[in-house]
């Protein structure tokens, strides 16, 4: 570096320790001879230090405690409260866990395979061409709910062949940004389901199933906040009957439910 006055860029590089030893020495000499330059470097140093000082501590969302009995009891109580409110609000008939249909294990297998594949590779959004091609094959009246208010993004779409189903089903995969993976399976024959919302459990997994006309619906997730999943099931149950976009109150409820929920991240 020449003996001319250091440039603004060089003063910044000096503060950042990015100059070579000889260039840094030249700047140091210039600072010794120029009080204003020294003040500028002091200002830059303070600016850098203050920016670093502003780094806030950050903690990841806690792991989901799955094995503590008291936690399960608390979750069960909150789920019960949500379900009672939802039932009163919607007058929708509710049925607890019941004997699962024969094809349910196959549906869980479809969900598990997708979930493991998604975890092994970066999530990607579904290409619109894939959506159109799939819908063309499955039928024009197919309902693909937008769950973005629940911070769940449509990330997977395919035709799945399930054992004991007697036909193809449409598998829709949604990903959250805190580790949640939710499957919605559309069963063209109705799957022998009733119009009522029915829950099927599989360990930490929860399945909700219902039917509207000739089409059956199955919502699957594992390790997801139970109150949040229950609200999603209630919402989709209602939406598939009405075939309308979510109203503002529902969208708010989905957002707030997500905010309150325990992340799936573990």
């Amino acid at each position: 570096m020449s003996t001319t006055r250091p440039s603004w860029q060089q003063l910044n590089a000096y503060v950042d320790g990015e100059l070579s030893a000889s260039d840094a020495a030249a700047v140091a000499r210039a600072l010794a001879d120029d009080k204003i330059l020294a003040e500028v470097v002091a200002t830059l140093s303070r600016l850098k230090a203050t920016t670093q000082e502003g780094i806030e501590p950050f903690a990841l969302a806690p792991k989901r405690p799955r094995t503590r009995p008291w936690r399960r009891a608390a979750i069960a109580a909150s789920v019960a409260a949500v379900l009672i409110v939802a039932a009163v609000a919607t007058l929708a008939p509710w049925m607890g866990p019941t004997e699962p249909p024969a094809w349910l294990a196959g549906a869980w297998q479809v969900h598990d395979t997708w979930a493991q594949t998604e975890m092994a590779s970066p999530p990607a959004s579904v290409d619109s061409g894939v959506v159109l091609a799939t819908l063309h094959r499955f039928g024009p009246q197919t309902y693909l709910p937008d769950l973005s208010d629940a911070r769940l993004t449509l990330s997977h779409l395919d035709i799945a062949t399930m054992a004991d189903m007697g036909g193809d089903a449409l598998h829709i995969g949604y990903l959250g940004n805190r580790g949640c993976q939710v499957s919605l399976v559309l069963l063209p024959g109705g799957g022998g389901l009733s119009a009522d919302l029915v829950r099927y459990d599989r360990g930490a997994g929860r399945g909700y199933a219902w039917r509207n006309g000739k089409r059956g619906y199955l919502l699957l997730a594992e390790g997801m906040d139970e109150a949040r999943l229950a609200l999603l099931a209630e919402t989709l149950h209602r939406a598939t009957l009405e075939l309308r976009p979510f109203d503002p109150d529902t969208r708010t409820a989905l957002r707030e439910s997500r905010e309150r929920s325990v992340p799936c991240l573990s």
Binding site: Q10, L44, L47, P57, A59, L60
Partner: protein, 183 residues
């Protein structure tokens, strides 16, 4: 950037990411200017990092890898072209290489934070990478895909803009414009 993507022996990924969380959040905040979105981005980044099959073993490469995951997650939700156009614009803005002088007493965590919010995305990002992320100019250049000289000029302009915002009308040019010295 050339990253040595080697298999990392099994260990708790949380422990490895934790030292970077504050810096990642600061960087996410510089990108989004929204605390809730920034939190989600860091969570998303951690989730993707946890599920990665191959993780850089070297600390510097690991940090750059984390920041890149976060940046890609952010850009996934953005219009990449718009962001890149803004970055290109920032490199040819009208700021000169004059030395600017601010009032030290106005520099605080709060004024810096508020000032950062008023900078262009490219200026916020380069300050966040170097001052918050701890990137060297070379690493920041590799990360952003620009030459080291661009990082140097962009950063100096960004700090000049930040000082100007912080000091508002109190910033004044030194009486003698600096001459560009040859290295």
């Amino acid at each position: 950037m050339a990253m040595a993507a080697v298999y990392d022996p099994p260990r708790d990924p949380r422990q490895r990411i934790e030292p970077y969380l504050g810096r990642l959040f600061g960087y996410a905040l510089s990108l989004t200017q929204d605390r809730e979105q920034a939190r989600d981005l860091v969570q998303d980044c951690a989730l993707r990092a946890f599920s990665a099959a191959r993780v850089p073993a070297d600390a510097a490469a690991f940090r750059a890898w984390l920041f890149r995951i976060l940046r890609n997650a952010f850009l996934d939700g953005q219009k990449r072209r718009a962001v890149r156009a803004a970055a290109a614009h920032d490199d040819v803005d009208g700021l000169s290489d004059e030395i600017w002088r601010g009032d030290d007493r106005l520099i605080s965590v709060l004024t810096v934070r508020l000032g950062m919010a008023k900078l262009s995305p490219a200026h916020r990002e380069v300050i966040a990478l170097v001052d918050i992320g701890g990137f060297s100019y070379g690493d920041a250049g590799d990360f952003l895909g620009v030459p080291l000289g661009t990082v140097m000029s962009r950063l100096s302009r960004a700090r000049c803009a930040l000082l100007a915002v912080i000091s508002e009308s109190r910033v004044q040019s030194l009486p003698v414009a600096a001459k560009r010295a040859s290295k």
